[in-house]
């Protein structure tokens, strides 16, 4: 009995202690261990290797695609502007794609919507990285600079293409969704201002060597190459020449053979997007998965074909016609199929192919155009002839050294069409920035063309969800 009372006293004391404990409403008790299969932002930026994984994740996201769902810069940027312009034809009628080809995109087109959202999903990640890096106390200054520069490069890359596809777009530079929701669209000039600022920072912050042995992450010259293009689009020819020269005179790059221009780490590549490893995905590059036709023996109509207008624009003997396209005679009809990438499936590939984001030929043609507009015709011809020479074509310096400035500009423009067909929207953007779009498209597609079709519509769901976004002209 006595014992029980003694025990009871202890229990009483213990009970009282326990009793008081939860009543303290201690917030700390409620701090649970973070998830084991996820990291919090704080954890990501505590460790130099996870910071590295964070920027790698941005590239991975940029490079992620599946056959059925290509993403913004992995497939879409080739496909949608390609169909919209006068170079690509989808052989089977498929409403969502046909809307692009007929320049009559409905604002609720789901392809257009996922195109838009995959860009902003990546931009969000870049913004978040850029916000968190400065406060990452344990990360070295050099890593912060490099990772921040890569993030800025990727942000600029995405905004460059966004504004070229959609015109005025929402310019988000923070991860704060409550303020971003209320954004209205910025003028293209302001978007470009941001793009240029990011690329300048990236060029300054990145080294000449790539972060790894592969050319799949931005270095200084990737930023410079894109910046050259941005300046060209802005008609800032002097700066375009400067930036292109930075790349061209770096000594790190040279034009590859036509057959080798899309292989991994080839000499011409400035930036590539690495596809998933063969154990993770069956597809090689998005273009490969989209365009590579079944062997002719099966007599299956290819999904996509080049327009006759483009096919007929190749000069005789152009190595690009033989190396980068293939003719398929199916049920008596000839289809010329884009074949810059030759591997559809990764596992069947003897040699791999990696998606080219930026390559040296672009720098030559940018500088050629910028020099031509500055009336430095011989410099322009020299650069143009580099590209023509690689394609096995006669040199302008030899055939027409006295070419007039307008003719030279036209020639360069034509060269761009041939060099960059079905490649990252070059043709569509060139048509728009040079003011030729209405005449060319009316000729190619007839009276159905409307000038407002030069811009894709802001997705309808976005117009509804973001109160201040608004819509491009010609769409509802």
């Amino acid at each position: 009995m006595r014992k029980i009372i003694t025990i009871s006293k202890y229990i009483l004391a213990a009970g009282l202690l326990i009793f008081l404990y939860p009543l303290s409403s201690c917030n700390k008790t409620l701090d649970i261990a973070p998830p084991v299969d996820q990291l919090t932002t704080t954890e990501v930026f505590m460790d130099s290797s996870s910071v590295e994984n964070a920027i790698l994740g941005a590239y991975a996201l940029q490079a992620t695609f599946n056959f059925a769902s290509t993403s913004f810069l992995c497939g879409n940027v080739t496909l949608y502007p390609g169909l919209s312009a006068d170079e690509l034809h989808k052989t089977a009628v498929s409403s969502l794609y046909t809307q692009f080809e007929q320049n009559a995109i409905l604002s609720n087109n789901s392809l257009n919507e996922s195109n838009w959202s995959s860009a902003y999903n990546l931009i969000y990640q870049c913004n978040l990285i850029l916000e968190k890096l400065p406060g990452a106390a344990t990360i070295s200054a050099s890593q912060k600079l490099r990772v921040g520069s890569e993030a800025k490069f990727l942000r600029a890359l995405n905004y460059f293409y966004l504004t070229n596809e959609y015109g005025r777009v929402a310019l988000t530079t923070s991860s704060d969704y409550s303020s971003n929701t209320l954004l209205s669209r910025s003028d293209t000039a302001d978007v470009y201002k941001q793009v240029i600022a990011d690329l300048k920072d990236a060029e300054a912050g990145l080294g000449t060597t790539y972060p790894t042995v592969n050319k799949v992450r931005a270095n200084k010259y990737a930023a410079a190459a894109l910046l050259a293009r941005v300046y060209l689009y802005q008609k800032d020819y002097a700066d375009a020449v400067t930036e292109a020269t930075t790349v061209l005179s770096s000594g790190m790059y040279s034009l590859a053979t036509p057959a080798g221009a899309f292989l991994p780490n080839n000499s011409e590549a400035i930036l590539q997007l690495m596809p998933p490893s063969t154990t993770q995905s069956i597809f090689s590059t998005p273009e490969g998965s989209l365009f590579v036709p079944a062997p002719a023996i099966y007599q299956i109509i290819p999904n996509y074909a080049l327009t006759p207008g483009l096919v007929n624009s190749f000069e005789n003997g152009d190595l690009r016609r033989t190396n980068w396209t293939v003719d398929q005679l199916i049920q008596g009809v000839n289809y010329t199929v884009p074949l810059k990438y030759k591997q559809q499936f990764a596992f069947s590939a003897a040699t791999q192919e990696w998606e080219i984001a930026l390559r040296l030929a672009d720098c030559y043609l940018i500088r050629a155009e910028a020099q031509a507009f500055q009336n430095h015709l011989s410099d322009a011809i020299a650069d143009l002839d580099q590209v023509r020479g690689r394609a096995g074509l006669p040199q302008i310096a030899g055939t027409d050294p006295g070419i007039s400035q307008p003719d030279l500009v036209d020639t360069i423009f034509h060269e761009c069409r041939i060099e960059f067909f079905t490649e990252w929207g070059h043709r569509w953007f060139d048509l728009k920035r040079t003011g030729r779009i209405n005449s060319v498209m009316t000729a190619a597609k007839g009276s159905q063309w409307k000038p407002t079709a030069a811009l894709f519509p802001i997705p309808h769901s976005e117009v509804l969800a973001a109160p201040n976004l608004g819509q491009n002209d010609g769409y509802n």
């Binding site: 261990a33 996820q38 931009i123 991860s175 997705p459």
Partner: protein
């Protein structure tokens, strides 16, 4: 509100429970010819008998008396009388006239009394009697509607005043039930000295007393008795009879979680399902036993396979976004929150369905229903607010059995039986099937060829299988055995039990769910009863051995599909057509084994210590651990070898841990005429769920598939999901005159499921009740024996949201990049969301008629849920499409609940009681700002239920085209989601149950009907192939369109998915109201007939009870629902089973 007492009378009010006087006059004893029961006193000459025994014999008389009283309406229990020097006899006559009470006394009883002068105006009868008998030599006792009178002093010679010469007495006696069986473990407390004891196995006890002391005799489940020790008591052995409390509003203890109350004094809404009700049902899962028994509680079985889940819905749906929140009630087992609540314990898809969508293994499959003493369902704010942020969807308390004082008792119960599927699905025979297929080709204008019509051009057309019968209508067997040993003395009681349950399935193959469980309870109290402890434990191992898929799904295979080749092996092809995909040989799926082993440990300890009178400190400590291990094997032998399927094994291990610490302080004090009860407590709970999964494939041999040896590919995942919860709570209860009751509860909660600034919130409720039948002015309504009005209002919350939603998390990218794993943010994060909030109102009227033989409870409730947690739609320029946030939408669940309990016949040999309950619920989305611009635009409709059918309106088959047509609501010529219209909802219009319990001598018959009036999905909703395609059809599906001008029920058969019939069929099946129909049903849910051997017989064999019984579950279903079961509403899932068992119970 309080009626003042007349000023001109002196009344000694006694507000404690009514007192029975122990002694009656020996003359009465004699007159009643009960002398054999009288004992000679130590003083000699005087005979005493026990009033209780007497009462037993007087039952018939009293019943008559009470019936007489019912007839005498208008009589009151109040007395108005004035006069001078009135003889008592005259007084009594007058009182009898006014009240209708029977006055029982023998001739000589009134000897020695003197006339009284009295002036009373509407004085309560007992008070009046006390007044007039003051200073008289007689005393009285009221029992039911009879008043007994007897001499106060039986020994006229005794003159010593009681208080000057206290006697040291020991009261000894026996406690028995109405059948005279001893009650072991009943508690006898001397309220004056607080001395307390328990009865032994033979019901005997002894406790020190003094004259005028009062002794409280109580026993769980029986009406307590308050016995006053007469001044003349001399220590004789007494026999006290307790009667069963099944009708006693006052004595049934209601568990409200942190505290208990009586049904009479309860201010909240609590329904109880007792062990007795559970015992009549041969169910594996205790949730099945709740169906139809509790108003406002809807239980829906998800599959008839053993181990399957049950959806539990208390007063309607509140969750708008079921992907991140859950509106299941809170489950508490012996004070410990169930670690997995009502979520599936497993992670893999199996024959039990999808664990992430109400399928999977039910956590309650691990609990042996026989171990359960009672289940309480808490519904309104008064009852649930003390659970704060978790009480919004109601609380279900499960309490396991405890040991009782008495001789060691062994209880054994075994039953065995068989089950079949409730619903049969009859499909076309081969001839009709082929005719149907040919018609489809003819309709499409297609010529069947070997590639499109191999089922009737290539395959043998003379073969026929009834796949529903072959795959889903086998007989399953059940065996159940329970053994428990319990007992104990006044200080320590114990119970240990073990059980075995085995159940096979209606699917082909050696499949089963097998559970072995053990349960124990140890209770101890110190001699002075100040220190108490109780330790309970449950442990079970369940082996759920099923298939990867429910084969009921394959009822519609072509009836001539080949199952075996000529060598008797499983067939993989016929005529060169390889069976694969949905046309795989269904018997091959029996090779896809799925095994799920669950270990469940529940341990709970309760410590309490009475510091001073009225102040008790207690602590509840609990731990729940559940581990499941799943092995799902896909051997390549289950598929045609030509398909090149790899041997694949999927292993998962899930752990759930939950512990809880709940210290509490309880205080009670009498204040004036009222009683104050206060409770303060704290709660700290921590739960963690971890999951480990490995998917391995490429085994060279099927024999290795249980291991990882030889697997060429292994993919692993591990997740962990901790949850911490703390709270402080309090309750203040004031009970004034047992008539006016006020109950306040408050709770402050913190939950780790919210961001650090939003973790704490306050909840509370006010409950009040008024027992108006005790008001004086109600006394003249003698048919009304009980009347209570109660109401409650309060705020509760719901924190049942996926963990970590407030965190800004990153995960690895789908693919490696440049050889390394990438990270990317998983979502936008919102650290600011907080609890869903439900404001609950309830008003109830509880009435008892004819001495509580008819009890009627009418409840109106209205619960308004707001701040719903949803994936809030955002523009994609934010980086994602949504963020978790509180939506200012409001959902109101309101409704009426009626419960009628009648004790139709109540005699010694024959009792019959009926319980009927019905719930009429209404669910309404009252407001939803921005609905049109939310992802829910085409899911919900304002002003309608969350379970609304918001689809195309089906307008029949076009007689010309033979295609289904739908209303173009906005007349824009397009058939799109903008044409959606509200077409009713899937909420039940009403539901409930009707239970009857009949006992005649040693036979007991219980049966329960459940009913539900509702719309549901029809069998056509589960079609994923067009009628006409290579898939069999139920014979109930008739009248397909064949020629222009025909008014048909179904559109033309077609097998061309590129043809005109496809889109109308698709819209019909997935986007229209056509696949919804009446799914109402009445089910004879349970019937139980048992026979107990007469006690004369059993006692000779030294056993207490031998009972044999036959029980059936889901015996009959009355419904107009076609093809399948109206509860499951899908022909592709095994329906609830009809089970019949035969069993025996032996107690000794």
């Amino acid at each position: 509100m309080f009626r003042p007492l007349p000023a001109n009378v002196r009344v000694t009010t006694n507000k404690t429970s009514p007192t029975d006087y122990l002694l009656i006059s020996p003359k009465l004893c004699k007159s009643m010819k009960l002398s054999t029961l009288c004992r000679r006193s130590a003083y000699g000459g005087n005979r005493y008998i026990h009033q209780t025994l007497l009462v037993m014999r007087l039952t018939a008389l009293l019943l008559t008396a009470s019936f007489l009283n019912v007839a005498a309406s208008g009589l009151s229990q109040e007395v108005s009388l004035s006069g001078k020097n009135i003889p008592l006899e005259k007084v009594f006559k007058e009182v009898k006239k006014q009240t209708g009470y029977q006055f029982m006394f023998s001739k000589n009883t009134l000897d020695g009394t003197h006339p009284v002068t009295v002036e009373a105006n509407r004085l309560a009868l007992p008070d009046f009697l006390r007044l007039v008998l003051k200073d008289q030599p007689i005393s009285f006792s009221i029992n039911s509607k009879s008043i007994f009178f007897f001499h106060k002093t039986v020994d006229p010679g005794q003159t010593t005043p009681v208080d000057t010469l206290p006697k040291k007495l020991v009261m000894s006696g026996r406690i028995v039930d109405v059948d005279g069986k001893p009650l072991a473990g009943a508690t006898i407390t001397n309220t004056a000295t607080k001395n307390s004891t328990s009865t032994a196995a033979d019901g005997s006890f002894s406790v020190p007393v003094q004259p005028q002391d009062r002794v409280l005799v109580s026993y769980i489940g029986f009406v307590s008795k308050d016995v006053r020790i007469s001044t003349a008591y001399d220590g004789r052995t007494m026999v006290i009879t307790l009667s069963l409390a099944d009708n006693a509003l006052k004595d049934v203890e209601i568990n409200k979680g942190y505290y208990t109350t009586s049904r009479r004094l309860n201010t909240g809404d609590v329904s109880t399902v007792s062990a007795k009700d559970i015992a009549t049902q041969p169910v594996t899962n205790v949730l099945a036993a709740l169906d139809g028994r509790v108003p406002g509680l809807l239980i829906t079985q998800t599959t008839g396979l053993p181990g399957g889940s049950f959806k539990v819905d208390i007063r309607g749906r509140t969750a708008i976004d079921r992907t991140i929140t859950d509106d299941q009630p809170l489950f508490i087992i012996d004070g410990i929150p169930a670690a997995a609540n009502n979520g599936a314990l497993n992670t893999q898809y199996s024959a039990l369905g999808d664990p992430s969508n109400f399928g999977g293994l039910s956590p309650f499959n691990s609990i042996n229903p026989s171990d359960i003493e009672s289940i309480e369902v808490l519904k309104d704010a008064d009852a649930t607010a003390i659970y704060g942020s978790r009480g919004a969807n109601g609380v279900i308390l499960i309490t396991t059995k405890k040991g009782k004082v008495g001789k060691t008792k062994v209880d054994a119960n075994v039953y065995s039986g068989f089950s079949n599927a409730t619903a049969k699905i009859s499909t076309l025979n081969t001839t009709d099937y082929i005719a149907m297929r040919r018609q489809a080709f003819a309709n499409d204008g297609d010529v069947p060829d070997a590639s499109s019509a191999y089922d009737f051009l290539v395959w043998d057309t003379t073969r026929y299988h009834d796949f529903n019968k072959l795959l889903g209508r086998n007989t399953s067997h059940t065996q159940d055995a329970n053994l428990s040993v319990s007992g104990g003395n006044a200080n320590t009681q114990f119970l240990v039990g073990a059980a075995y349950h085995n159940e096979t399935t209606v699917l082909p193959g050696d499949l089963y769910d097998r559970r072995i469980s053990a349960h124990f309870n140890l209770s101890h109290n110190s001699d002075d009863r100040r220190f108490k402890m109780s330790l309970s434990g449950n442990y079970s191992v369940d082996n759920n051995h099923l298939l990867n898929y429910d084969l009921a799904n394959y009822y519609n295979l072509p009836p001539n599909l080949r199952l075996y080749d000529s060598a008797g092996n499983l067939a993989w092809n016929e005529g060169g057509v390889v069976l694969s995909g949905p046309l795989n040989n269904p018997l091959a799926y029996t090779k896809l084994s799925y095994s799920l082993v669950t270990n469940n440990l529940n341990a709970d300890m309760l410590l309490s210590y009475a510091i001073t009178k009225g102040l008790t400190i207690k602590t509840n400590l609990g731990y729940n651990n559940i581990q499941t291990s799943e092995v799902s094997l896909t051997p390549k032998s289950a598929y045609a070898p030509t398909l090149g399927i790899q041997n694949t094994s999927d292993f998962s291990v899930n752990h759930f841990d939950s512990y809880i610490v709940e210290p509490q302080l309880e205080y009670s004090k009498k204040i004036g005429e009222g009683k104050l009860n206060a409770l303060a407590g704290g709660s700290l709970q921590s739960t963690n769920a971890t999951s480990l999964g490995i998917l391995a494939s490429g085994y060279p041999s099927e024999a290795l598939m249980q291991s990882l040896v030889g697997a060429t590919s292994q993919l692993g995942t591990r997740t962990s999901s901790p949850y911490v919860y703390e709270a402080a709570f309090g309750r203040l209860n004031y009970d004034f005159k047992e008539r006016y009751l006020l109950n306040l509860t408050v709770r402050r909660d913190g939950s780790s499921r919210f961001g650090s600034d939003k973790r704490f919130a306050n909840f509370g409720s006010v409950g009040a009740a008024w027992i108006f039948s005790d008001e004086r002015w109600m006394k003249n309504l003698s048919f009304l024996s009980f009347g209570k009005l109660r109401s409650s209002y309060g705020i509760t919350g719901n924190d049942k949201i996926t963990n970590y939603q407030y965190l800004d998390t990153w995960t690895t990218t789908q693919y490696l990049y440049d050889g390394s794993a990438g990270l990317h943010p998983t979502k936008l994060f919102n650290p600011d969301y907080h609890w869903e909030r439900t404001a609950k109102f309830e008003g109830a009227l509880e009435l008892g008629f004819i001495n509580d033989r008819i009890l009627l409870s009418t409840i109106y409730f209205s619960n308004s849920s707001s701040n719903a947690l949803v994936q809030y739609k955002l523009p994609e320029i934010t980086g994602f499409t949504s963020v978790v946030a509180n939506l200012p939408a409001k959902v109101v669940n309101s409704g009426w609940e009626f419960t009628l309990t009648t004790f139709n016949i109540k005699t010694k040999d024959f009792t019959w009681s009926t319980n009927f309950n019905i719930t009429i619920p209404k669910n309404k989305l009252v407001s939803f700002p921005g609905l049109d611009n939310s992802p829910y635009k085409y899911t919900y409709a304002l002003g309608h239920s969350l379970n609304v059918i918001y689809k195309y309106k089906y307008t029949g088959v076009d007689p010309q085209t033979g295609l289904y047509t739908f209303e173009d609501k906005n007349k824009d010529g397009l058939q799109d989601q903008n044409d959606y219209e509200v077409q009713g909802d899937l909420d039940p219009r009403f539901y409930g149950g009707l239970q009857n319990s009949i006992r005649y001598k040693n036979f007991t018959l219980d049966f329960l009907f459940t009913f539900r009036k509702q719309l549901g999905t029809t069998y056509e909703a589960s079609f994923w192939r067009m009628p006409g395609d290579i898939s069999n059809l139920p014979t109930a599906m008739k009248d397909f369109w064949t020629h222009p001008g025909q008014h048909a029920t179904h559109q033309r058969l077609s097998q061309d998915y590129a043809g005109a019939a496809y889109q109308p069929w698709y819209d019909y099946t997935y986007n229209s109201n056509a696949v919804y129909g009446d799914a109402s049903f009445v089910r004879l849910k349970n019937i139980s007939l048992s026979y107990s051997l007469p006690s004369q017989l059993t006692q000779k064999a030294h056993i207490n009870l031998l009972r044999i019984y036959v029980q059936a579950q889901n015996l009959l279903t009355f419904t107009s629902y076609k093809v399948g079961d109206p509860e499951i509403q899908s022909p592709t899932v095994t329906p609830p089973l009809r089970t019949i068992v035969l069993g025996a119970q032996l107690t000794f």
